[in-house]
Amino acid sequence: MPAITYRDALNQALEEEMERDSDVFLMGEEVGVYQGAYKVSRGLLEKFGDQRVVDTPIAELGFAGIGVGAAMAGLRPVIEFMTWNFALLAIDQIVNSAAKLHYMSGGQVRVPVVFRGPGGSALQLAAQHSQAFESWYAHIPGLKVVAPATPYDAKGLLKSSIRDDNPIVFIEGEMLYNTKGEVPEEEYTVPLGQADVKRAGDDVTLVCHSKTVAVALKASERLSEELGVSAEVVDLRTIRPLDIDTIANSVAKTNRCVIIEDGWPFCGVGAQVVDDVQRVAFDDLDAPIVRVTGADVPMPYNKHLERAAKPNPDRVIAAVRQVTYQA
């Protein structure tokens, strides 16, 4: 299997789905002539033309709404936000239009739109450009929220998202675009709503998604070497619908759970996972669940402060020590 970047995996997914279905089009800032702010859409304008690869003005609310309208009329728009930070300007369309129309219309209107773009903390971009919004959108019934960690999952999940008839919030890891991984040449999809065990283990379950999967995997290697603790890494892949079965099965085996996420702790994704696990797997728990999250502050610019604000393997290991009762 060839190893390609996360960016190219997404590019392949877009290209294949646009080839497969002429109703699929890409719209957003700099997606065409500029080849994408993060080059995810490289080459697509040349291949599909400006009817299907549409450069927009800087008007997130407007083009997000146009995407929703086009979806209501039967197209399958992929709306790119240059980053999810800018999507705050469009959140009315995502929450009040896309997520609600099917319900408010008594099931008549379908909104098969994918909102995608990079999210999560980056490097020294400071507070307004470095934040994770998964929990914001996962809070909304009617939306599905996807956050892939690997090139394989990025491609397979984006293809499934484009084919899904519901509005999808697809949050790519801004720091993951250059990471490489094996992606098969043949056609495949990854179903939404299924977590993936990225590493099997016996002593503690590390729940993570997107960028924190790498943090969890690094921590689990060190846990094994330094403490002899065998960690199981569960990558959520889809935040909503949440695959509680996979998490609970893992916790039934390990009896301990640490949740790692880039976002803020309050009402975060991990808070939801904790709620589900304590209900579904109460009798399997040998320790309170511990969360490792981004610091509860706006992201600082200074790189030392920034590093301290992000989840890292050391913090994961400390959390694992806590749940395994190792001083």
């Binding site: 009896n255 109460f282 009798d283 399997d284 728990l285 040998d286 320790a287 009762y325």
Partner: protein, 396 residues
């Protein structure tokens, strides 16, 4: 403060225990958690822990004494406490069931435990305690604030010191007191042959191919495989095809299992015990061989934990090493069957019209007729035979 030390239920089936050794003598200072005595249960030698701080003021049950679960064995109290009222014959205050372990009764004089005295245990620890019939009050928590966690329970049921029962010699004859294990064997097996309507099926298996395979496997080195291991594997695999034989009689219902846990009778110094190889059908011969050896060794040392000798869905008993050609084994209820394996013998047999010498082995299956009917058992035994005669069938 007075703490009554009572005979605790240290195994799921224990009804009484025999004090083997006192580790503390009267007048010794003891603290909660100290090992004060060793007790022989029906299955193993277990440790009795102090449930209260103070002085071991009085030993009621001396070494060698058998005491019912829940009955007083000693008294721990402060130097000045009056223990004259403590009734040695009375059971502990809380009624005791065989399956319910009993904790030291808190002295009646003391106030109810303060809020901080609530037992802190993780949800998992509470579940394990429930399943293993362990009283959490008897467990020392190692987590924050004394929280009882999984690792605190892992040791509780299985802690035991190897201490054989004493034998008293008296002249021309020997009076051998009944060990707890012997009592249990007697009771259980009498219970079995009595109410359990047994019938027996015997067959003779050609072991030429199995023997050849065993030689080849053993030549590979790291783990020696016995014929008994091969028999365990074959029976376990066959049970998966004949679920009707992989069952428990449950008085008002029959419980058929989807997993095969093979009980393996092991002779120990003054009895036998049946450690369990779990999911034997899923394990490789090599794993079965190493596990059965480890279990047998621990059984002989009487260091098996309750979970290692309970829960079998079917059993096998082998007296081949004693040269026994054929025998019938008594079913270990609530299991519905047991296979007795005889020794491997060279015998003249007719093959394709010619008499040749082959290695043969006799299997006798005891069946609980309430669960297994004749034909059902026979078909199962046929599958076992096929597997033993064609070992490749086990990987088919």
């Amino acid at each position: 403060m007075i703490t009554k030390v009572v005979m605790e239920a240290l195994s799921p089936t224990m009804e009484e225990g025999r004090v083997i050794t006192w580790h503390k003598k009267e007048g010794d200072q003891v603290a909660v958690g100290d090992i004060i005595a060793e007790v022989e249960t029906d299955k193993a030698v277990m440790e009795l822990q102090a449930r209260g701080d103070g002085i071991l003021r009085k030993i009621v049950a001396g070494e060698g004494t058998t005491v019912e679960v829940g009955k007083l064995v000693a008294v721990i109290a402060g130097a000045d406490d009056d223990i004259g009222d403590v009734d040695a014959t009375a059971p502990a205050d809380s009624p005791t069931e065989a399956s319910q372990p009993v904790a030291a009764e808190p002295p009646p004089a003391t106030a109810p435990a303060p809020a901080g005295g609530r037992i802190k245990a993780s949800p998992l620890a509470r579940r394990m305690a429930r399943e293993q019939h362990v009283d959490l009050e008897s467990v020392q928590g190692s987590g924050p604030g004394g929280r009882i966690v999984k690792r605190d329970l892992a040791g509780v049921a299985g802690v035991a010191a190897a201490a054989p029962a004493g034998i008293v010699s008296a002249g021309g004859f020997e009076d051998v007191p009944l060990g707890q294990m012997r009592k249990t064997i007697a009771k259980r097996l009498a219970q079995s042959i009595g109410p359990v309507p047994h019938f027996f099926l015997t067959t003779e298996v050609d072991m030429e191919q199995a023997a050849a395979a065993r030689v080849e496997l053993n030549a590979l080195g790291d783990q020696r495989i016995s014929f008994n291991d091969i028999a365990i594997k074959a029976v376990a695999m066959a049970l998966m095809q004949h679920r009707a034989c992989n069952a428990w009689w449950q008085d008002d219902h029959i419980r058929y299992f989807n997993e095969v846990h093979m009980g393996m009778a092991v002779a120990v110094e003054d009895g036998l015990i049946t450690p369990v190889i779990r999911n034997a059908n899923l394990k490789t011969l090599r794993d079965i061989a190493s596990e059965s050896r480890a279990l047998a060794e621990r059984a002989r040392e009487r260091r098996l934990r309750p979970e290692e000798y309970t829960g079998a869905t079917f059993s096998i008993s082998n007296l081949g090493m004693f040269g026994i050609d054929e025998f019938t084994a008594i079913i270990n209820p609530p299991e519905a069957g047991i296979i007795a394996v005889g020794t491997l013998m060279e015998k003249p047999v007719a093959v394709d019209g010619a008499v040749v010498v082959r290695r043969r082995m006799r299997l006798t299956m005891s069946c609980d007729h309430r669960v297994i009917d004749g034909a059902t058992g026979a078909q199962f035994l046929q599958t076992v035979t096929t597997m033993l005669e064609n070992p490749m069938a086990m990987v088919w």
